[in-house]
Symmetry: C2
């Protein structure tokens, strides 16, 4: 029997452009097509998508795409995927609603076949049969997948936690999982994001209680920032507002869009008249108002950041306001988040945030929950997914400690191929899985070389030298032009620029014979770089242009 | 009676270039002269120092400098300070040792007057009398100051925590503080770094026990990374190694220097033969070895980062190694720290770090400790120091909640002046307190304008256009030259460059009359920027140079 092949194309990283291929003979299915936000050193990059090279070479075998839930790191690269590939896209109702909005924006909706799947429903895709099961996570309608293969069932958890008192009644379906466990689970693929964290992730219910206390007790206006996709949290805020007799005003483009979509699909229930527009908001006393806003991650153009900077169109922060950040900073966003907190305090607001108030819980399972998952499934093989490399390692160890046979937990990195047959599992040859950078309209054309240049430019700026040389003799015709940006305050350093010109002249004057222009440019660049470093201890990028006159 | 003036020149921020002036009539004293490491958006900046403008204008009144402890954020700007100012510098023995090493490197030792002060000793400086008292912190010989003024005593805690079982027997001197409290404390200035954290900061003793367990039980080599200045932690490692019969090898330049200095001054005790050199390290079995290294913050050129990248000269990480990061990532360093953790795992090491092991405690007091401080001092006025703005706010609230009269806790920001007289305290006119950037040899010459240019360059690179125009007619003489860096892969986009040249020609061709060169350059720049944005959705910095031929 040929092997089953498991190929993660992304998923390393806290927000890791999740994408996985599962392959058996002539059939390939895809689980998730996510994007990743650029890390600090990916200068100027807008976003990062998975590497489709292997799939491109095997496009004829692609049978279907399954999406576990609607977060960007699981569905965000679909618009790029669908420019090249065509296959039915299966997901739950809310996920489908979210991706249809996105595909519409990219004018890809007509060309796409998206299909809504109910939990329990089974989809045939080539040799595979895929069943969706509900999981608790920080977005409604999140699902895991039971994927039946010729070698046995695979369980893919998507992002999940166990929440016995979830807001919208969606717990992780342990009964269904235990049935698969009873049957014999071949392979478990499970969320590792919180594999470092001891104990249990607290229930959403705690957050609901805390938010209600804030809304009831705040002396004035309450402003609550959270993720636009965290519809259940918005529901909790609406419930608290109703309880306290307050109106709700929604601001921030993605929050407005998602609230509208969620109300339309029935995922957000607000009594008539509770959610109000700008006019009514203006006529409501501050202590009868709750504002729900984007910006919990300190995004520069978000509504909360505009409030913190004092330039939101409708809301001026003032003494008496209570601002609650119902979110934790995603790693990398801390500076931006806390800058907002500081600025809101400066404007006189009382600010509640993760370090001083329990008004957020995360959507991922902690160690004790991961053990329960292992317990109900008792898989033969285990592959930790979603998380940084260290999360995968500690999750693999956890699995082996609670029953996965030693050697059967595989820590895969992007592009690894795990081949499972009836006898064993082993690593096959890797497939390409680079970071593919999207920058403006360019996809994949920003490479390490370009990023190194950007890093160099960012550190000490650029100096451009224009040397006009005689066509015949190669001699400098006049004093060279030098201009710079980001290097030094030119007006304060005129003398340095004058001496730089002498250095350029010196570098050019040396040769008696007509040298190649390329050689001249290198000579000038090296001499000037050295001079500028000696004088300033800075290393601007020096560009030399020789113009023949 | 004239007012006492309290002027923080720095101190906002987690690592905040701490510096404070205390002024009464003709006398000014300085507490700490620290530096700050640049934040993400301070591109290319090496470090940030306090703004000395006000002191420059009042240099004749400067009486003395007092340093609370030897960390960079409290003493790091001294070399810049001493280029301009001259005053005796008082500090404890280890702090003095550390700054003398630094001043020697900067060739400033001859010009400096540094004085070692013992706890309890009183220094007269103008109208002030300053007494050092010991505090527990993450470096030995840390002190707070009791500053007697004509209006009453001020207590400045420096960085501190309460640790009842410290490693080197240095607890915070609560008895001395209670005596000041009994006398009547005019003003308390207290460390706010941990003012968000409930409860108590655990004792260093816990870390000692945990490290000993690791060193005793690890199957092979143990590598422990920590701050080079955290001498007490190094002592704990040495103690654990002695207990387990292991040798200690020290690596990383600043760790080697600090260990040597600490041994010389008697702050680090190791039995003969325990600390070994490279040769003996090579001849020691791995399970009889402990390596102490720098790099706990993921610093790019540190010893631990070199190990994680597989290019340390003496130490190749292998299966069986245990690496312990005995430090928490300072905000902003998380990515670099966790990249090392991931890479060490990839090389086969077992890695223990803050999220999975209790092998670090921080050096700052948590909320319950801050309350005790308030309790023993019962100050009339309170100013929270050291920390981000939000830390100061929550610390001020804590103080008012436990007894500081309402309205007497002042949240100051850099450059604020708090004036205290016999009747009241109020804010006076601000003094200059900008960030002063050090970049290479330049001090203060990098401004927002330059940083904006660097940010622009870092995002989409630079495009340089050289247009050779006829001196008489202003007409383009030949096809323009265009070069770029960090914008786009030129070889893959030749066609775009060709079309860019047409755009430049178009922009130049329009004018019949001889236009000003400046106008031409603006016209070319605008046209090309627009064209490139339309084509690529990127906004490189476009520089235009017109050469007359």
């Amino acid at each position: 029997m040929p092997p089953l092949r498991i190929i993660p194309l992304g998923g390393l990283g806290e927000i890791g452009r999740n994408m996985m291929l599962i392959e058996y003979e002539e059939d390939i299915i895809v689980v998730d097509v996510g994007l990743m936000f650029p890390e600090e050193e990916m200068l100027g990059v807008d976003l990062v998508i998975p590497d489709f090279t292997y799939l491109r070479e095997n496009a004829g075998r692609l049978r279907a795409v399954f999406l576990t839930h609607g977060h960007e790191d699981h569905v965000g690269a679909l618009p790029y995927f669908l420019r090249e590939f065509s296959a039915p896209i299966y997901s739950s109702r809310l996920t489908d609603g979210l991706i249809r909005v996105k595909l519409n924006e990219h004018r890809l909706l007509d060309k796409s076949e998206t299909v809504v799947v109910e939990p329990g429903e089974v989809i045939k895709a080539g040799v595979f049969e895929v069943e969706f099961f509900p999981v608790a996570h920080s977005i409604p309608d999140a699902c895991g997948l039971i994927i039946r293969t010729p070698l046995g069932p695979i369980v893919h958890t998507g992002d999940f936690k166990l929440d016995h008192t979830p807001v919208m009644n969606q717990s992780t379906d342990l009964i269904r999982l235990a049935q698969v466990g009873a049957e014999g689970c071949l392979l478990l693929l499970a969320d590792s994001t919180y594999a470092e964290v001891e104990g249990y992730t607290p229930s959403e219910q705690l957050v609901g209680d805390a938010l209600r206390n804030i809304v009831v007790n705040a002396p004035g206006r309450v402003i609550i920032a959270t993720f636009a996709s965290l519809i259940s949290r918005v529901q909790q805020v609406v419930d608290a507002a109703v309880f306290a007799g307050r109106k709700v005003f929604v601001t921030g483009r993605s929050m407005i869009d998602n609230v509208a979509m969620a109300r339309q699909l029935g995922y957000l229930n607000a009594p008539d008249g509770v959610i109000v527009g700008v006019e009514e908001m203006r006529n409501t006393p501050l202590n009868k108002l709750v504002v729900v806003t984007t910006g919990s991650q300190g995004e520069p153009t978000s509504a909360l950041t505009r409030m913190a900077n004092g330039n939101h169109r409708h809301i001026q922060i003032q003494e008496g306001d209570t601002v609650a950040l119902s979110a934790s900073p995603i790693p990398g966003n801390e500076q931006a988040v806390y800058r907002n907190v500081d600025n809101l305090f400066r404007l006189g607001a009382d600010v509640l945030y993760n370090r001083v108030a329990n008004i957020h819980v995360r959507g991922h399972a902690s160690r004790e929950e991961l053990k329960i998952l292992q317990g109900v499934l008792q898989p033969e093989y285990f592959v930790p997914i979603h998380g940084e490399y260290r999360h995968l390692v500690v999750h693999a160890r956890l699995a082996e400690a609670v029953g996965v046979p030693e050697g059967n937990a595989f820590v895969l990195t992007d592009g690894d191929v795990l081949e499972i047959d009836e006898k064993e599992a082993r690593l096959g040859d890797k497939v390409p899985a680079s970071y593919v950078y999207v920058d403006g309209l360019g996809i994949g054309d920003v490479d390490q070389h370009l990023l190194r240049d950007r890093a160099h430019l960012s550190t000490d700026g650029v100096v451009v030298v224009i040397a006009s040389v005689d066509k015949q003799t190669g001699k400098l015709e006049r004093s060279p032009d030098i201009l710079s940006r980001g290097f030094i305050d030119v007006e304060e350093h005129e003398e340095l620029l004058e001496r730089s010109k002498r250095v350029v002249e010196g570098a050019l004057g040396g040769g008696e014979h007509r040298a190649e222009l390329g050689d001249i440019e290198v000579r000038v660049r090296d001499a000037l770089s050295k001079f500028l470093y000696d004088e300033t201890r800075r290393r601007p990028m020096v560009l030399t242009v020789t113009v023949e006159v």
